[in-house]
Amino acid sequence: MAAVTGGVAAAGGFASSSMPAHASDTATGVPANQVGVLVDTTKCIGCRKCEYACARANRPNGVSIEAYKDMSVFDTPRRMTHDALTVVNRFANPAKPAEPIYVKSQCMHCLRPNCVSACIVGALHKKSNGTVSYDASKCIGCRYCMLACPFEVPAYEYGNVLTPMVRKCTFCYETYQSRGEPPACVQMCPPNCLTFAPRGDLIELAHAKIEADPDAYHPHVYGETEAGGTSWLYLTSRPAEDLGLLEIPARPLPRLTENLQHSIFKYGIPPMLLYGLLAVAMKVSEAEEKTEPSKAPHE
């Protein structure tokens, strides 16, 4: 555990180090100071304190803890909304029916975020610590990020008439991480099922936990490879897809469209080539027409 605690301190250091964007592991494209959170769902007790902490951090005006003591919300599956950036859901535990499994969801902060690739104006971008951040002042409200997200995370303020925003977990980038502190939910979590640390350390920790107690854990760290890897990682007792976590292949999503875009429009050559071909066609057909004056409709 010492390594991880040290990791938190190291992770907190990102704000002071003005790390340029290209300072990343070139083999994987992962920023060198990429942080993450490991969610050990076997420890979660479904207390909804993370939801409360999140609301307090992101909706500062008037959040009552009373609303978060209502456990009947677990009766129906929930997804994040524009004012609930993280939600916990309950799942049956066939092994121990008396102890249901609780799973927190929020933006996964992908290593190769598809929303960032899709955004038409760069309102979504990846910070050097791995946070996928949103700049409302650039946003035009096209909601293409919502279409692009494989985890179906971003929510929209449809009810806001003039200045609607895309809402998703901010990773508490401005509020806590910039001060070197873990996100609000991690700070609040009573049973310590959330661990904030450099992502590399978390992967090691997750595999060590699986190895130490193979009966308790399903042998897959969800988020290690999904969609090319995510900042948020999950340890589960049952296969992740039984716990509302989507099966997403390892291929980073932006690859297909970006390759397509970049090959079709490489230095603008293909469009210029098409332009040239059409110009030639225009000249050739014009010449043809002149040789056959009878066909042309000219006087």
């Binding site: 449809y158 098409l274 057909s285 409709p297």
Partner: protein, 413 residues
């Protein structure tokens, strides 16, 4: 390049049909105001699960595909120098111009922050990785091209004839001079503009298909294929010619003119050729990918796909093979209407039916306001076309003075 005399045609503007269209357009305008005042939540059925509805699937995707007649006719007539089509090219251009303009209005309705719509054009916000960025830039550029392509009609109509009312009259001379020099310049570079329009169209018509490629795990494999951009471009070209035929037959009926059946017949042949290529490409891709595995058990998606392919592609393709169909206004109109409906259905299918978010609890169906805005835009488009042909020299002079005479008689009353 005008070898065919064209004129603003004398049409009686107000007919019962026009009153109906005005009513629909007014309802659409009210619906649009409702959206602007009360927001997306109150006016649409969009949700976090379904961020895109008919304003994107129909008003942007559908309209832009149907407006492909503008670039296909420009390419055919002016790039490949098939001058016999000149009598109908201006009309096709006008419909494209109105179609794209309506698509932009539909898009603005959909944008949460429509007042930021200019952001993608600012270099410091360019995002070259985004497919949507490419669509946005190409559509903006092509809309400019369309207005330039249309400008000769404006100039022909007003150059040397500017007659502004009241104190503005002193601007008459300078306006005339501007139109004359501007017109001369545009005519000189028109061939460059025409080719640019074709290139931009090929780029964004295909990119409109790439849009859904970003969501491979949320899109039904009956439609999702990496070659979707190619299929979108091919289907846009394939619907372009039938759309021009449809316009011509509709205008002929509405304005009591004789449809140029010889031209429309040969356009129908071209349309059938591209529709055949599209059918071949779509069916081969479907088979090669093994998408048939997803067809059964029958679902809404597989039924919608069948309707799209059979009624919208194969049946009209089969019809257009026959000379008799290509020469009969009624049968030709039927075939072309099927193709148009088929391509609209394809776009709706890709963006509304094929898109199936994993956490979906309730399917999307457009709200009344969404439907009214879409219908209102279509009605506005038809009214604007009707107004434009009476103001600008779009259609050719026709000898049969019957409708004009009837009109004069009605004016005399």
């Amino acid at each position: 390049m005008s070898h065919y005399p064209r004129e603003p045609i004398p049409v009686k503007f107000w007919t019962p049909g026009v009153y109906l269209l005005c009513g629909i357009a007014a309802a659409g305008l009210l619906a649009a105001l409702y959206r602007l005042v009360f927001g997306l939540q109150a006016s649409t059925n969009l949700t976090d699960r379904f961020p895109w509805g008919i304003w994107i699937a129909y008003d942007v995707e559908g309209r832009v595909a149907l407006s492909a007649g503008g670039f296909t006719m420009a390419a055919l007539t002016h790039v490949f120098n098939r001058h016999k089509y000149e009598p109908i090219v201006r009309s096709a251009l006008l419909v494209a111009l109105l179609g794209y303009s309506c698509a932009v209005v539909g898009l603005l309705m959909d944008l949460g922050r429509y007042y930021n719509a200019w952001h993608p054009a600012m270099p410091w916000m360019w995002q070259g990785n985004s497919v949507l960025f490419e669509v946005g830039m190409c559509v903006m550029a092509y809309l400019t091209v369309l207005y330039l392509e249309f400008s000769p009609m404006f100039i022909e109509r007003f150059a040397g004839r500017v007659n502004l009312p009241g104190p503005l009259a002193r601007l008459n001379r300078v306006s005339n001079a501007f139109l004359a020099t501007g017109g001369g310049f545009v005519t000189k570079i028109m061939f460059l503009i025409l080719i640019l329009g074709v290139v931009l169209s090929c780029m964004h018509q295909s990119a409109l298909g790439s849009l859904i490629l970003v969501a491979p795990y949320k899109t039904n494999p009956l439609w999702w294929t990496p070659v979707l951009p190619g299929l979108f471009l091919l289907s846009a070209i394939a619907v372009g010619f039938p759309m021009v035929i449809f316009e011509q037959l509709y205008a002929a009926w509405s304005f009591n003119r004789k449809p140029p059946m010889d031209l429309l017949g040969s356009l129908a042949k071209l349309g059938a050729l591209f529709l055949g290529l599209y059918a071949l490409a779509k069916i081969s891709d479907f088979t090669i990918r093994g998408a048939m595995d997803h067809f059964f058990p029958l679902s809404l998606a597989s039924v919608m796909l069948s309707v799209e392919v059979f009624a919208g592609v194969l049946v009209p393709l089969g019809m257009l093979v026959f000379r008799r169909v290509r020469q009969s206004p009624a049968l030709l109109l039927t075939a072309c209407s099927l193709i148009i409906a088929g391509i609209i259905l394809n776009r709706l299918n890709v963006f509304l039916i094929a898109y199936r978010p994993p956490y979906m609890t309730k399917a999307y169906f457009p709200s009344l306001v969404e439907i009214l805005v879409s219908l209102g835009l279509t009605a506005t488009l038809i009214l604007a076309y009707r107004a434009a042909v009476t103001i600008f020299p779009v259609l050719t002079k026709q000898e049969s003075a019957k409708p004009a005479a009837a009109l004069e008689a009605s004016h005399a009353k």
